[in-house]
Amino acid sequence: MKILVAVKRVIDPYVKIRVKSDNTGVETQNIKMAMNPFDEIAVEEALRLREKNWATEVVIVSIGTDSSQEILRHGLALGADRAILVRTSDSLESLNIAKILKKVVEDEKPSLVLMGKQAIDGDNNQTPQMLSALLNWPQATYASKLEASSEHLEVTREIDGGLETINVQLPAIVSTDLRLNEPRYASLPNIMKAKRKPLDVIELDSMGLALKKHIEVIQVTAPAARSAGKRVGSVDELINELQNQAKVL
């Protein structure tokens, strides 16, 4: 079986972001980028399924500029077999990303698509569900445990209030939550080896997709700052403040 994993290049999660002064977006020039952490978990899960001999091939795909190749090389160094870059300089919304991925799925015919539950830049949490809808495949979102058999997957999902287990028939889309696994690190020999693994570049324009704009970003602003707080010296003082100043007790 083949697993397709979709990965995104995002601002490194440990970087404190800055909103551009013209309010058109967030500063990305000269900022450390990384693979979206939820996608690393998806890659890891795919590799584990291959190690269990459930999957025979792990293909990773990313959509973006040439810079996304570094994320794909990282995925190859972790152990993916092959990579695909859909090259475009357009900034795309979730629905259009899902439409591009649908085309990739139709070409690659994987039995399972693994994706992060959300990208830490847009925080949308949409693409896996949208891709499932477009393919009319079942979806298992927020997976924290996955048991695969030849026909179906038993997936434990993290939901508000606890856990839910569902059974989905293959082919299916699974989106990963943080607790699914602990991603491995790439070793130096594997980083070297990854340079020789196949990385195909497909131009978005050559895919024959009619992508329409559905959302217009008007502006991006910094959130309202909280006013400076006060240090209190004792529990008595804290309770007094909460009762008499803040009036929340």
Binding site: K16, S132, Q139, G233, I239, V248
Partner: protein, 312 residues
């Protein structure tokens, strides 16, 4: 043209966040229809019908709707979608699972975690873990939105029950089945809607010592939350987690104990009205957003706080 709200419930009571989604829908204007789909959930439909401002309840009661699988819920919503200009779902795991599927089936955009409605096409929502706010205009005719419920006031007023219309449509998900639930049981207020939240972090050191947080919460009638570090260390189950990857809360009072204040955590609580931080590290980032900071050993300060509250 009107707004459809997909109601989250457990077949017995509607989720309290329904009141907040309703208030967001009222800002859009037009009639508001509530879709209650479940199994033996007429009590929910009756409860929803008495919320002020609801024009009609659409009630779908079928065994297959007992658990809200995305495949069948989105097909059901889709069968109704064309008579509405907006479809609103709370931004919970329930809503986030279903809304994008509905939007893609309709070939329209979906806006996640809407925190402000500027007009019928223009919305604000947080991105980058709440470190930036994006204002977007949706160009599609039907708007599919998940609502950040803590950003909208709850509708508490009641009305004489409106019409409840029974829907006969049954959507069965052939390729997906519910297996089981493992829900964490708690006597305390729900984390998402509590007026006061007390959260503990890695500073609590163990599951045993985390009970101190629960004692403090009980003294305040508060819900208990936790940082991701506390969850990962196994002190509490993961549905206690407040943060970008857990729950987003905005209570009147948030007390962070032994939590350093990583970006991940702040994204889940920084809209709280009053934030109190108790931490021994005076340079902890949590103090930069706390209204009241108390530097010291939590194992001395928290028992003092509990004693104080009990003597009141």
């Amino acid at each position: 043209m009107s707004t459809l709200i997909l109601v989250e419930h457990d077949n017995q009571t509607m989720h309290p966040a329904t009141r907040n989604v309703l208030s967001a829908a009222q800002q859009l204007g037009g009639e508001i229809h509530m879709l209650v789909a479940g199994y033996q959930c007429n009590a929910v439909a009756e409860q929803v019908a008495t919320l002020s401002g609801v024009h009609k309840v659409l009630y779908a009661d079928k065994p297959s709707y007992e658990h809200p699988l995305a495949e069948q819920m989105s097909d059901l919503v889709l069968s109704l979608a064309n008579s509405f200009k907006a479809i609103l779902i709370p931004s919970s795991t329930f809503g986030k699972n279903i809304a994008p599927r509905v939007a893609a089936q309709l070939d329209v955009a979906q806006v996640s975690d809407v925190s402000k409605i500027l007009d019928n096409d223009t919305f604000e929502h947080p991105i980058y873990a709440g470190n930036a706010i994006e204002k977007v205009r949706v160009l599609d005719a039907i708007k599919v939105l998940t609502i950040r419920t803590t950003a909208f006031d709850a509708v508490n007023a009641a009305q004489a029950a409106c019409t409840i219309e029974t829907l006969d449509k049954e959507c069965i998900a052939q390729s997906s089945q519910f297996v089981k639930h493992e829900l964490s049981k708690s006597e305390r207020p729900d984390l998402g809607t509590a007026k006061i939240v007390v959260s503990g972090g890695r500073g609590l050191q163990s599951a045993e010592k985390f009970k101190l947080i629960e004692e403090l919460a009980d003294a305040l009638g508060a819900a208990v939350g936790a940082s991701r570090a506390a969850v990962d260390a196994g002190f509490v189950p993961n549905d206690y987690q407040v943060g970008q990857t857990g729950k987003v809360v905005a209570p009147m009072l948030y007390i962070a104990v032994g939590i350093s204040g990583a970006v991940q955590h702040l994204a889940g609580m920084k809209d709280s009205k009053v934030i109190v931080a108790i931490n021994k590290d005076e340079d902890a980032p949590i103090f930069q957003i706390a209204d009241y900071g108390l530097v010291g050993d939590l194992f001395e300060l928290v028992p003092q706080l509990i004693a104080h509250l009990k003597n009141k």
